[in-house]
């Protein structure tokens, strides 16, 4: 981990390409194993309001998602 960098790109690829998907799945699992939460910015149908969806499995990522954002788990402050 590199402190002070804000977000960094971990992996990028096309999920329809087998090798890319395997790499993305591997990185996804690694982040969750490291204790991160994964969220996908989404838009609510109808109202168009933006919100986030937490995902715990690669298969839960909406097919139209462009990115998954990992962030540390919340804890009581």
């Amino acid at each position: 981990m590199k402190p002070g960098h804000g977000e960094i790109l971990l992996a990028e690829g096309d999920t329809e390409v087998e090798a890319d998907e395997a790499r993305l799945v591997r990185e996804f699992r690694r982040q969750l194993d490291d204790g991160m939460w994964a969220a996908v910015p989404t838009q609510r149908p109808g109202s168009g309001r933006r919100e986030a969806q937490l995902v715990q499995d690669f298969g839960e990522i909406p097919p139209d998602a462009e990115r998954v954002i990992f962030f540390p788990r919340a804890s009581g402050g």
Binding site: H5, I8, L10, A11, A74
Partner: protein, 229 residues
């Protein structure tokens, strides 16, 4: 044929998932925490911190609603509506439902100590309760219609595996809270340490922020309804 190609191209673009994470470090709290020429001096780079915050702001902007972004840019915090909306009395019903969400975690005496200030209805009619998201400060639950403050929810996103005491850049902290609240509000409030308003935040400051928010919303509504030209 052309249509099929365009759709495929769109799908291919949409499926290109990006996995991103962010790293951070705590800004030294003061000069006394730094040792000249020591390890902490080598680690701290104000330029890097500024760049990290700039990137964090861009990420935040790309994720939240336009109104929320401009709110954060102008006021320094974001308001997020609570998940449960009511059609009855927003104040009574909203507070009651919030209590249900919290799985009866409300500390004894909170109802009595909740701020009952009422200074008129704002532009948020219809939102039973909402949260104010501040960077590196507790979430504040309140009732927009009355301005009544409900509770503080102290929640942190410690940077796992980084230097001891590191924390997210301010805008990343806001984004993490926003994502957590909009995706799983129940979980956030369950994990947070709940306190009466005033534990960490100055209630007067929060009331002033709510007033600023109302002014801001009123101006925004006015700008929208003003005839062009």
């Amino acid at each position: 044929m052309l249509l099929a190609l365009v759709v495929c191209a769109l799908i291919a673009t949409a499926l290109a998932a990006q996995l991103a994470t962010r790293y951070v470090r705590r800004r030294p709290l003061g000069r006394r925490n730094r040792r000249p020429g020591g390890a902490s001096d080598r680690r701290y780079d104000p330029g890097r911190e500024r760049r990290a915050e700039r990137r964090a702001r861009e990420l935040l902007r790309s994720c939240v609603n336009d109104e929320e972004w401009t709110m954060y840019r102008d006021l320094g915090f974001i308001q997020v509506a609570g998940a449960l909306r009511t059609t009855g009395s927003p104040e009574g019903d909203g507070a009651e439902r919030l209590g249900v969400i919290l799985d009866q975690r409300r500390p004894a005496g909170s109802a009595a100590s909740a701020d009952a200030e009422s200074d008129g209805r704002g532009p948020d009619t219809g939102v039973a309760y909402a949260y104010l998201i501040y960077p590196h400060k507790p979430l504040v639950a309140y009732i927009p219609d009355s301005g009544r403050l409900l509770s503080e929810y102290c929640v942190e996103f410690p940077d796992i595996g980084a230097h001891h005491g590191s924390r997210l850049p301010a805008s990343d902290d806001v984004l993490a809270k926003w994502m957590a609240l909009t995706s799983d509000e129940r979980r956030v409030v369950a994990d947070a340490n709940m306190h009466l308003v005033g534990h960490q935040l100055d209630p007067g400051r929060v009331r002033r922020d709510i007033w600023r928010l109302r002014q801001w919303q009123t101006r925004r509504l006015g700008n929208r309804s003003a005839p062009a030209g």
